[in-house]
């Protein structure tokens, strides 16, 4: 009994910390509609800066608390710099592009932190005056945790007063809905946005700084907190402060008790809860249906048509190289080329969902991984030959795509994206923790191609034919009635339903088709590598897929193809030439977003059309 109470208290302390970070994220989203992936990086910087300040300043109350507050303010200012230099320029870009830009910032901050503070974990001092513990019902409970429990409600109360009882708050709430109109009424909306970013970043920094006495400071803090913060914000309802508080409480306590009850399930528990909440309440616990914020919408997507002759020639030339060159290449180059072919299909399959479908998926790796596991498990447990495995891969991925998609495609925007992420994490943790079936972390080894396909060159041609064929098939579908129906429900669900199109069904089947195509890619990848690991469906792989589609451009199928080739080529090269490849890659992403907001293929197309005077 007492143990449970302690556990509940420690859950409250986690909830409080989580709320600090999530409140900043939700405040920033509410006003700017920017899904700020870099929010976790600000949290990490808060912790690092607090470490530096607290250890440099004289010991004692002033040194510690001054250090914590100082770190929070510096992080607030860093947020201002990011807003002024980057985000301010892309408020009109599509939501996912902003996400891409902030992901670039994540990479940059990771390497900057590595350069400044090194790779080793740092242990900060404990808070003066709160070092000891107190007795609650005869059990000892750390004072600092008790202090944290108090911080959350105080911050919530202050934020509520700020937003509902000050002119600044009224202006911010107005700008949330229509920023341009607020400007036309004489409000300097740039300053307003910058001040909101300052507040949100400061909260993230404070959240990080306050962790100093609780845990070590390290380079993984950013991504671990951002996933949880996103879960909290989405479960609570985007933009809702009280929702975030409620969700933080829920997630904090779930963590605390999940460890007691089902230690095995902790990895996935929060995602299970998020999936459950979103299935029942599509806009989170206290969220409202997302009204499109004015003044930030892009124009209508362009028409699709036959590829321009220049692109057609370029494609044929690339194909000729892909067919004719390999016999003269070594094994390593063949592996890289095989991987490239596979990733082109992977990116093209995500494009079907994101481009024509108008949906976002943060968890597309799930279907890649399910394809890979489908093939590998069939080989290991049923002794299926390679071709059977390759046939099973899209089947497994497609079936799971239909099951998961059944729930995901009912939601919209960020909610849909987060539900796809939740399902991907659930799939990942099953692969990770069902050791008896999947081998867990050790994966499944010995997934080799049949003898005839074993030579690298043969396997390369097999992958090329299957991937190219599937990609061209997807293109065919986009130009056929089904693809048009997908775009129809994206352009106007209202009109689509009014002419008898079942938008849900079309999205659902589109999702399943994309999953099956990703499954082919996954199956081919399994035999190419000879093994399957849970990392095939982890978050970084999903992010890779997003990067490929967004880098290339979401509006034409040539986009993801270019994106896949560019990203794999870039990563391959960067890792080889520098230790700080994240810094370089992040900077490249940021620059691309700033200067090629339509993606690489989109920019090339725009340039071509401008030169040929085509509207």
């Amino acid at each position: 009994m007492e143990n449970l109470l302690l556990q509940a208290l420690s859950g409250l302390a986690s909830a409080s910390s989580l709320f600090l970070v999530a409140s900043g994220l939700t405040v920033i989203f509410g006003v700017s509609r920017v899904v700020n992936f870099a929010h976790g990086s600000l949290y990490m910087l808060g912790a690092y800066l607090a470490f530096t300040l607290v250890t440099q300043l004289p010991r004692g109350h002033l040194g510690f608390w001054g250090g914590v507050v100082g770190a929070a303010i510096i992080v607030g200012l860093i947020g201002v710099v990011v807003e002024v230099l980057l985000l301010r320029r892309i408020y009109r870009a599509p939501e996912l592009f902003q996400l891409l830009a902030t992901f670039g910032v994540v990479l940059i901050v990771q390497d900057l932190a590595l350069m400044t503070w090194g790779a080793q974990d740092l242990l900060g001092p404990r808070a003066p005056g709160l070092r000891g513990s107190t007795e609650i019902l005869g059990l000892r409970f750390p004072l600092y945790e008790l202090f944290l429990i108090g911080v959350g409600p105080v911050v919530l109360g202050l934020l509520w007063l700020l937003f509902h009882r000050t002119r600044w708050g009224t202006l911010v709430r107005a700008a949330t809905q229509d920023r341009e109109m607020v400007g036309a009424l004489g409000v300097n909306q740039r300053m307003l946005f910058t001040s909101v970013f300052f507040l949100g970043s400061l909260l993230a920094g404070l959240g990080g700084a306050l962790q100093l006495p609780r845990e070590s400071v390290n380079l993984h803090m950013d991504l671990s907190i951002i996933t949880e913060a996103f879960v909290v914000v989405v479960v609570g309802g985007l933009g809702s402060l009280s929702g975030a508080a409620l969700a933080a409480l829920l997630i904090g306590e779930l963590h605390a008790f999940g460890i007691l009850v089902l230690p095995k399930i902790t990895l996935v528990l929060v995602f299970l809860v998020m999936a459950l909440v979103l299935v029942v309440r599509p806009h989170g616990l206290l969220g409202k249906p997302e009204a499109a914020a004015r003044g930030g919408q892009g124009s209508a997507a362009p028409l699709i048509g036959p590829a321009p002759p220049a692109l057609r020639r370029l494609g044929l030339a690339a194909l000729a190289v892909a067919v004719l060159l390999p016999p003269f290449l070594g094994d390593y180059a063949l592996s890289v080329l095989t991987e490239m072919a596979i990733l082109v299909l992977f990116a093209a399959s995500l494009h079907l969902i994101m481009g024509p479908g108008g949906m976002a998926s943060f968890g597309h790796a799930a279907y890649f991984g399910l394809g890979a596991y489908g093939a590998a498990l069939a080989g290991q447990w049923l002794g299926a030959p390679m071709l059977a495995g390759l046939a099973l891969a899209p089947l497994a991925a497609g079936i799971f795509g239909l099951v998961f998609g059944f729930f995901c495609v009912r939601l919209s925007g960020v909610y849909a994206a987060m539900l796809t992420l939740a399902f991907a994490q659930i799939a990942w943790s099953v692969a990770f923790q069902w050791v008896e079936l999947t081998g867990g972390d050790n994966g499944i080894l010995g997934v080799w191609p049949d003898r005839w396909a074993a030579p690298k060159l043969v396997y390369y041609y097999l992958a090329l034919v299957l991937c190219l064929g599937a990609t061209l098939l997807l293109r065919r579908v986009i130009h056929a009635p089904f693809g048009y129906a997908l775009r129809a429900q994206r352009d106007s669900t209202l009109r689509a339903e009014a002419i008898g199109i079942d938008a849900f069904r079309i999205r659902w089947l589109g999702f399943g088709l994309a999953a099956a195509a990703a499954g082919i890619a996954g199956g081919l990848f399994a035999y190419a590598k000879g093994s399957v690991f849970p990392t095939y469906m982890d978050i970084p792989r999903s992010v890779d897929a997003l990067l490929m589609v967004l880098l290339g451009g979401v509006h034409t199928l040539s986009g993801p193809i270019v994106g896949a080739l560019a990203l794999t080529g870039l990563q391959e090269q960067l890792v080889r030439i520098t230790d700080y490849w994240r810094l370089v890659l992040g900077s490249i992403i940021v620059l691309l977003v700033l200067f090629f907001p339509q993606g690489l293929a989109g920019a090339a197309r725009a340039r071509w059309e401008a030169r040929h005077g085509d509207a």
Partner: protein
């Protein structure tokens, strides 16, 4: 008060405004008439800085404002009432007014919520109601009241009668006459000629982004061929 000359503007590569010129004198109500898509809204947005003018001059109260940010233009005393109302639906009536509030600069009597509720009585009875739960007519009144809270010297009123019931349009006309009596200058855009002639001193006709005709309301009523050619009534 407001003097526009040589104004042109583009959306992408399409030219929407071409060499637009118009004048609004102090205390005057001028109506910009034209078909849908003729460039009325864009003219107003370009004056307000919401669409960047590609060329031309916009002088307001003695200063050049072309190329300035919307908030700077608003602070000089130019109020903008958009066509689509664009009230803040989550905010109450009073909060909507608060967003528009700016210190008085003009020689005109400063506006307070109380004075605005006298001008638009139906708003006074719903001060705490969220904007999203008001009817179209009430929203249209709120959006004008919100702009007046900024104590402007001149307001740009974009199609205030669009989508309103005839009785509400009559009340709107009365309100505009009352504002004129206060000494406020108004640039109005309209397609409804009945409404325009009931409230305006002068008219300017725009067609395909160019000014085609300017004159007083009696002159417009006398010029049948002008009305036929550009307004098709």
């Amino acid at each position: 008060m407001l003097s526009v000359s040589g104004l042109s503007a583009y959306y992408g590569r399409a030219q929407i405004l071409d060499d637009v010129a118009l004048e609004v004198g102090a205390g005057e109500v001028v109506v910009l008439l034209g078909r849908n898509g003729a460039g009325k809204s864009t003219t107003m947005k370009a004056i307000m800085g919401l669409v960047p003018p590609a060329a031309g001059s916009v002088r307001f109260d003695g200063a050049e404002i072309a190329g300035r940010e919307p908030f700077e233009i608003a602070r000089r005393g130019l109020g903008y009432v958009p066509e689509e109302r664009r009230i803040f639906t989550e905010l109450s009536v009073l909060e909507n007014l608060e967003v528009g509030r700016r210190p008085a600069t003009a020689a005109l009597r400063p506006w307070t919520p109380e004075r605005l509720f006298a001008l638009f009585p139906s708003l006074g009875s719903m001060q705490d109601r969220p904007g999203g739960r008001m009817s179209g007519g009430e929203q249209q009144m709120l959006t004008i009241a919100r702009t007046l809270m900024g104590n402007p010297k001149l307001i740009l009123l974009d199609e205030p009668s669009e989508g309103l019931a005839p009785v509400i349009i009559e009340r709107m006309a009365e309100a505009i006459r009352a504002l004129k009596a206060e000494g406020l200058s108004i640039l109005l855009s309209e397609q409804n000629l009945h409404f325009a002639q009931a409230v305006s001193d002068r008219a300017t006709i725009i067609e395909k982004g160019r000014i085609r005709w300017s004159g007083t309301i009696p002159e417009l009523l006398a010029a049948d061929e002008v009305r036929e050619q550009y307004l098709s009534v």
